[in-house]
Amino acid sequence: MIRVLLAEDQGMMRGALATLLELEDDIDVVGLLARGDEVVDACVRLTPDVAVLDIEMPGRSGLDAAAELATAVPSCRVLIVTTFGRPGYLRRAMDAGARGFLIKDSPVEQLADAIRRVVAGETVVDPTLAAAALRAGPNPLSAR
């Protein structure tokens, strides 16, 4: 069983995602959060295999939580989900040690597959989203 913690502030989205993931045979949703500032404590307590984090959440952004998780709970892989690729998000996600970067509305098959691949040590980046995240900035390369 892959143990997943999900942090997403929009209630309907959180409920739908959690139920969809629960319907997968090999995935167990062990934690559900609506705030970014509860992520680290919850992961310390629950030690999930994967934390699926929204970016924009009250209290703390998923990107900041990811950065702290990398040292606080290194065994927990982070997968960032977002609606749009804003400038800088992808790079910040990768700098924070995230292993995945996906659009929130990915079909659950894709999200579940990404979770499995991240657990297997792979990096999963949605290319279209990433391209938008990079393209939306003034100049992707000078931002380095």
């Binding site: 929009q10 309907m12 989205m13 739908a16 924009e56 509305d105 659950v108």
Partner: protein, 234 residues
């Protein structure tokens, strides 16, 4: 002969100036367009995008539950339909906001956005249409930035937008959320402050009586007595 030479050189200088101006013009238009796109992206991002993503997932869920739990499937579908209609309303409001002028357009976009985010809106801007043009742009920016922050950060139940067209023009966006006026300014408020102070005005934030207030004063007559409308043409 010297006069002819002078004429000739003056003529070429003139040509060069015109070419340069033309390039600057194209560049400026390009920049303005991409800024506008970013602005629209930001407007749409917070509400429309979230909603569409939720519609997609709720539909998935309804599909999965159709066989096993028809009552829950029915609920999820109803919710998805409701969200899709709200998204449609928002698209309509945004689109018609685009067709209006800066400040009035921003005000209508703001109302739509707040409505869509489930935040009540008390609008008091009877003479918004009479704010002088260059100030109207900045006033619109105050509204846009203020309302985006309300939607994004405040968790408010109600927002209050006030425009007073006098000298100075005063634009205020307030909300009854948990905002803390001592939080450091981010890109949004910093950019706003820069633009407003460039016009000789000022931006304020304060927390008072359970309200978080952002307001700007925009002088119509700048300290030197110059009228803002003229300064804005530069």
């Amino acid at each position: 002969v010297a006069a002819v030479a002078l004429f000739t050189s003056m003529f070429f200088w003139l040509l060069r100036t015109m070419v340069l101006l033309r390039m600057a013009r194209a560049e400026m238009a390009r920049l303005a367009v991409s800024e506008e796109r970013l602005r629209i992206a930001r407007d749409l991002h917070d509400v429309l995008g979230q909603r569409l993503a939720a519609v997609a997932l709720l539909s998935d869920l309804a599909g999965r539950l159709a066989g096993s739990d028809p009552e829950r499937a029915r609920q999820q579908s109803a919710e998805a339909g409701r969200l899709a209609r709200e998204a449609l309303e928002e698209v309509r409001a945004t689109v018609s906001g685009f067709r209006d002028s800066s400040l009035t357009g921003e005000l209508s976009t703001a109302q739509a956005l707040l409505a869509a985010a489930g935040i009540g809106c008390v609008l008091s801007a009877p003479d918004a249409g009479s704010v002088p043009a260059p100030l109207a742009d900045v006033a619109g920016w105050v509204v846009r930035e203020g309302v985006t922050n309300v939607v994004r950060h405040s968790r408010a139940g109600t927002a209050r937008i006030t425009v007073r067209s006098a000298d100075p023009v005063v634009v205020e966006v307030a909300d009854d959320g948990h905002g803390d006026a001592t939080s450091p300014y981010g890109n949004g408020l910093t950019g706003l402050r820069e633009r407003v102070t460039a016009l000789g005005g000022a931006v304020h934030t304060e927390r008072v009586d359970g309200w978080y207030r952002l307001w700007a004063e925009l002088p119509v007559t700048a300290p030197g007595g110059r009228v803002a409308a003229a300064a804005g043409a530069s």
